[in-house]
Symmetry: D2
Subunit: 141 residues, 4 copies
């Protein structure tokens, strides 16, 4: 399960417009942060998500799960650890750990994705892209 070993760190700063009148980051902002972390994971694995789309594929989100453990605040720089639980040509499962500025676990998330083509039909990722992803996920990459 070498693919689990590739873990990517992404730093994101909470924007003012991402807060709400409770005085903390709105829970909806998390979804955009997880996405930014996932896109960063792809880039660091050597396959920019633009390449995935350019080849005619999308990783459509079919399941989203977030557990919120402590509030995040305006201008706080958070860190997201992104890793894959499963990465096949048809189905991908990302897991995320979101740490606040003090390094405490602020949230945990999971997204499951189906590989689809531009018509949103289920397909398999091309062998070429899969090879590039697997190479990038190798522990010694």
């Amino acid at each position: 399960m070498g693919e689990r070993m590739f873990k990517c760190d992404t730093r994101i700063r909470v924007r003012y417009g991402e807060t709400d009148q409770m005085g903390v980051a709105h829970h909806g902002a998390m979804v955009n942060w997880l996405e930014a972390a996932r896109v960063d994971w792809c880039r660091k694995a050597g396959v920019p998500y633009r390449d995935v789309e350019a080849a005619g594929f999308n990783m459509a989100v079919v399941e989203l799960q977030v557990r919120y453990l402590c509030p995040l605040f305006f201008d706080e720089e958070i860190r997201i650890e992104t890793m894959t639980e499963k990465f096949t040509r048809k189905l991908i499962h990302f897991h995320y750990r979101v740490l606040n500025r003090d390094g405490e676990l602020a949230a945990e998330g999971d997204t499951r994705h189906l590989v689809v083509n531009t018509d949103l039909k289920r397909v398999s990722l091309s062998a070429e892209l899969m090879t590039r992803f697997l190479a990038g996920m190798r522990p010694d990459a």
Copy 2:
């Protein structure tokens, strides 16, 4: 379990800015729609969420789960059915069914909330608010 019986219908139209370059509604928009549906549920149960906040309480989201079943499109009017799975003075669980324009199930969601005060500490909803919610949730309300 009378509270399960109170189900609220909310209609929402997909905004252009809620689409992404896949040509469908972005999965993150769903989180905002579920929130709008939840706020609508409170209003229709007779307790506008502003009253909850005015009394010093918030229903902080501690868990979010969405299963996406089919894409939603720009300008499509969707319908969200909102109901409670659990509604106590400390913990609330909403369940959502999101239907597309053809009445097909497009997504299912769940949000779990802890009742907190304005300092984000866990508290119990006031007896007065609880009474109003329970009255509003009665099947014959």
Copy 3:
């Protein structure tokens, strides 16, 4: 100047996630509301914006201007009056008046749009779409 006469009213409720930690609606939400109002204007003029896109056109925003006069609050139902200052086959200028729940002017906005094709090149709206728009904008429509 018949086109100025067609004015469309759109009602929008401020979402919780559209507030920020100042306790009022975030100024960025306005941009999405003006867009929803503009899409509503097209629909009520008889030309759903989907038809514009289906015919291969987009009304790309090239200028945005908003003056914010008074704050808007969570769950407030606002009303947006949308009208055109200019509507030609190449260039469209919408003007908006945003009223708060008390009917006071809360903001004024303007957006200018260039008609582009799907490659984002400047083109002229088809005669057929233009005819439909002009018919819909007639005062007696």
Copy 4:
């Protein structure tokens, strides 16, 4: 006009959820980017915006203007140059130049802000904060 000399550079990457079905960044995302750039300007001028709020002040946006010159794309790293046109204890005017990945001017923006207190009433920035801002804006800072 020393204050004009302090110019801050902020790099931002276009998120997937910030695109729309035209296949480019949605014009509304710009408003959030300008805000992030402004917050970055404050930090680099030596006065984190949290300090402004902690002292009981807000810089409420009263006017927003954006001219969009060329489209921005998913995952593109843009650069925003932020500078002040005017910075007084009551009124602040920021100007922004947004450059695409090729260094071309993609948009220009302006935001005007009134200094308000936590009740949203117009006030003057404290002498202490003003001193810190002016010190930070000095060309040799």
